[in-house]
């Protein structure tokens, strides 16, 4: 039992942290957020040069061949700096989803390009009615000669507008809710029949609802065996959940630090407001929640690749429930303790708060994971 990073993991953490501290100021964040694209090509190249985008790509495809712990090591700083680029969507989730298919030459080539930052891919999986249930795929793909034809509607696909390639799940057999019958396809974002209804999300990131209407892709774009893609999709989502937990903990730490500093300096009634016990106890509650969330972000990283699906889901649901709860409490209390300033767009506090609010809602909120955990443990 130990909770230390290896030297290599620590180096990765330090280099990402240093780079983002120097390059990704709050002003930079605001400028990128206000831009048309909502993400920055130069920053993306910088992250590629640092190796951030190669962490989850196997060495055979030119990646670093790392895994969940290295992802954990780098995500906290991404959270703190409010990175708007699709690190989570492309370098973590899409990359981990593609990885099981690396025997497929085209998939392997794409992995290599993801590692270098030359391409961006995102997983387009959840639908209007699936909420957070990965098996709930209603969109269809049918074989037509040498092609597949895809029809469906993918809901709130993070960073879809930035993507070159969409990894689209579609049902080739069975009904929504069936684990079998879900297939996965590489679909160029600009393929005929693909339309994006793009919008920003509450935290300033970009997303889109993706509509597929008679989208024709060559049969070679099917990843792996027809109808058997769900395990790969879950591998991607599960690493994504662990990474999101780590990112959220980075945000929480930043918010706790900022709030502590604020109550030390803000004076009312002739003294720093941090001397008031009502506020001190809120800070203590935030610290307690932060440490529980940190513990569970470690658990998520350690178990997200577990081959025992029961243990894996238990751990991930427990982690997400704790992190989601801590995210809400710390975010809300940080705004409260900053008073009117916490309500402003001008202070980074409100942006951290919104990122935490989004983190609770993504991949299953606290209620969804409590329910799944209860079903797995009764």
């Amino acid at each position: 039992m130990n909770f230390e990073f290896s030297d290599e993991q620590q180096q990765l953490h330090d280099s990402v942290d240093r780079y983002l501290t120097q390059q990704y100021s709050f002003d930079k964040f605001r400028a990128i957020r206000a831009s048309d694209a909502g993400w920055d090509q130069g920053m993306w190249r910088g992250l590629a040069e640092l190796g951030v985008l190669a962490v989850n790509v196997p060495a055979e495809q030119g990646g670093l061949g790392f895994g969940p712990l290295e992802t954990l090591a780098m995500m906290g700083s991404c959270g703190r700096s409010l990175v708007l680029e699709p690190v989570l969507s492309s370098a973590v989730i899409a990359t981990a989803t593609l990885k099981p298919f690396s025997a497929d030459a085209a998939a392997a080539a794409l992995l290599g390009k993801l590692a270098g930052g030359e391409r961006i891919a995102v997983l387009a999986h959840f639908e209007r009615d699936s909420r957070f249930e990965p098996q709930w795929v209603a969109g269809r793909a049918r074989r037509s000669g040498d092609d597949y034809v895809l029809d469906g509607h993918k809901a709130v696909v993070m960073h879809a507008p930035a993507a070159d390639v969409l990894l689209v799940s579609a049902r080739t057999a069975g009904e929504p809710g069936d684990a079998a019958g879900v297939s996965l396809f590489r679909v160029p974002r600009d393929a005929p029949g693909v339309t994006l209804d793009a919008y920003p999300t509450m935290d300033g990131q970009r997303a889109a609802d993706v509509h597929l209407r008679g989208v024709k892709v060559p049969a070679a774009n099917l990843l792996g065996v027809e109808g058997a893609a769900l395990p790969a999709i879950e591998a991607g989502l599960d690493l994504g959940l662990a990474a999101l937990c780590a990112e959220a903990v980075g945000v929480m730490q930043a918010l706790v630090d900022a709030t502590v500093q604020y109550v030390q300096t803000r004076r009312q009634f002739g003294q720093p407001i941090g001397q008031f016990q009502a506020l001190q106890h809120r800070i203590a509650d935030m610290v307690i929640q932060l440490e529980q969330a940190r513990s569970m972000s470690y658990l998520a990283a350690l178990r997200c690749g577990d081959e025992n699906m029961m243990e894996r889901r238990k751990a991930l649901s427990a982690a997400k429930a704790v992190v989601g709860n801590a995210a809400r409490l710390i975010g809300q209390q940080a705004v409260q303790l900053h008073g009117g300033m916490g309500m402003t767009d001008e202070l980074i506090v409100s942006h951290w708060f919104k990122r935490l609010t989004a983190a609770d809602l993504m991949f299953g909120d606290r209620d969804a994971h409590l329910q799944r955990f209860a079903a797995l443990t009764r």
Partner: protein, 396 residues
């Protein structure tokens, strides 16, 4: 980073498990697992068995007769013991005054007191709180006035746990009324058979008598029973409070009680189905189970940091707050699980002396719930713990 214990630690766990399986009498574990009261003899008998195995005081170094276990080993021991229904170890001798005597007592005191703590031959209690000195312990007023080779002690202590069983008390007394509150306190070891001591049990809300008021009327305590220097007692008391942290969260006991809660919720029915399948109840159980898991990992992180000798932060207070909140939540859910059968209440139930009208397991649940309210009050209230966390992080 990894969660698994080392092979050595796992082997140690097996060793503890085998010992508990062989040595813990069924008569004792049945009481613990069903929530019945333990007698003085139950506690002493378990302490004797541990002592004979060389495990009388888990945290003590070998030179004083302990096994020299590190914090991780102590954690493993308490977890295994708790899960199997081992009694909660009475901390006053082995975990509290013992380490103080080792660190600050003289050789004669060490020889006189430590062996009998280890063997369970002498039962210790704590004389800290007073009617006017709770969270603000340093305001204590019990006086000790030097008279020849003795101190004459006068005053009153309260919330003294199991003093009715005790042979000795470690006691904070005021020896300098003129000094600042923290600077005028001395640390005395008092023979409970001394003339002038009156022990009166306090009946608690669950009908139990586990705490006492104690009066001292011209009680003679030999100066040789003072630990360390006169007026330095506060230093020793603080050392004591900071000493025992490996099991402050009570993870093992909470796991056992959660297991019991789920057993009960599987047997109770609601709408013709097991209660544990009721969505709202299941969500409540899931929530506390998840919180306990997070606490367990936080506890392991703390132990791991201690092993690598990092400076401790506010971890002990975090563990105390979360551990007590979780234990209270489990006891409340267990009471609520039996619905109306939480209402029938007889004190005899705690000694298995009552056949309840409902299921057997319902008999002790309400008393346990009531009793567990103490957890967030004793050992530094949870509000005081939050003050500590805030002081360490905000620093104002």
């Amino acid at each position: 980073m990894q969660l698994e214990f080392t092979p050595e630690e796992q082997a140690f766990r097996e060793e503890v498990r085998a010992f508990v399986r062989e040595q813990l009498p069924q008569s004792i574990s049945a009481k613990v697992l069903n929530g019945y009261d333990l007698s003085r003899e139950d506690h002493i008998s378990w302490q004797r068995r541990l002592y004979e195995r060389g495990w009388g005081a888990q945290g003590w170094p070998k030179q004083f007769g302990g096994p020299g276990w590190n914090a991780v080993q102590q954690y493993i021991f308490e977890e295994e013991s708790a899960l199997a229904g081992g009694p909660r170890l009475i901390p006053f001798g082995t975990k509290m005054v013992g380490p103080v005597i080792m660190a600050f007592g003289n050789a004669a005191q060490q020889q006189r007191f430590l062996p009998k703590i280890l063997s369970g031959e002498e039962w210790w209690c704590q004389g800290y709180s007073e009617p006017g000195a709770g969270s603000d312990l340093a305001s204590l007023k019990t006086r000790a006035v030097r008279e020849g080779d003795d101190y004459l002690v006068n005053g009153q202590k309260t919330w003294n746990t199991l003093g009715q069983y005790a042979d000795w008390m470690f006691c904070l007394v005021r020896t300098d009324a003129a000094a600042k509150p923290q600077s005028g306190i001395s640390f005395l070891l008092i023979d409970m058979k001394s003339p002038g001591i009156t022990v009166r049990p306090i009946t608690l809300l669950d009908g139990s008598q586990e705490v006492n008021e104690i009066w001292f009327e011209n009680v003679r305590v030999p100066v040789q029973n003072r630990i360390g220097d006169e007026n330095k007692g506060w230093t020793y008391a603080k050392f004591l409070l900071g000493h025992e942290r490996a099991n402050i969260a009570g993870v093992g006991i909470a796991k056992r009680e959660l297991r019991r809660l789920k057993d009960i919720a599987r047997q109770e029915r609601k709408d013709g189905r097991p209660l544990i399948e009721d969505p709202l109840f299941a969500a409540n159980v899931a929530e506390v189970e998840i919180d306990l898991w997070a606490l367990e990992i936080t506890n392991l992180r703390m132990l791991s940091a201690e092993r690598s000798a990092r400076a401790p932060g506010p971890e002990a207070s975090i563990l105390k707050i979360r551990g007590t909140e979780i234990a209270q939540c489990i006891s409340e859910l267990a009471m609520r699980a039996v619905g109306p059968y939480a209402l029938p209440f007889r004190r005899e139930a705690m000694e298995a002396g009552w056949q309840p009208p409902g299921p057997d397991y319902a008999a002790t649940l309400t008393a346990a719930y009531l009793n567990q309210r103490k957890l967030s009050i004793f050992g530094g209230t949870n509000e005081i713990q939050k003050n500590i966390i805030a002081k360490m992080t905000v620093g104002l």
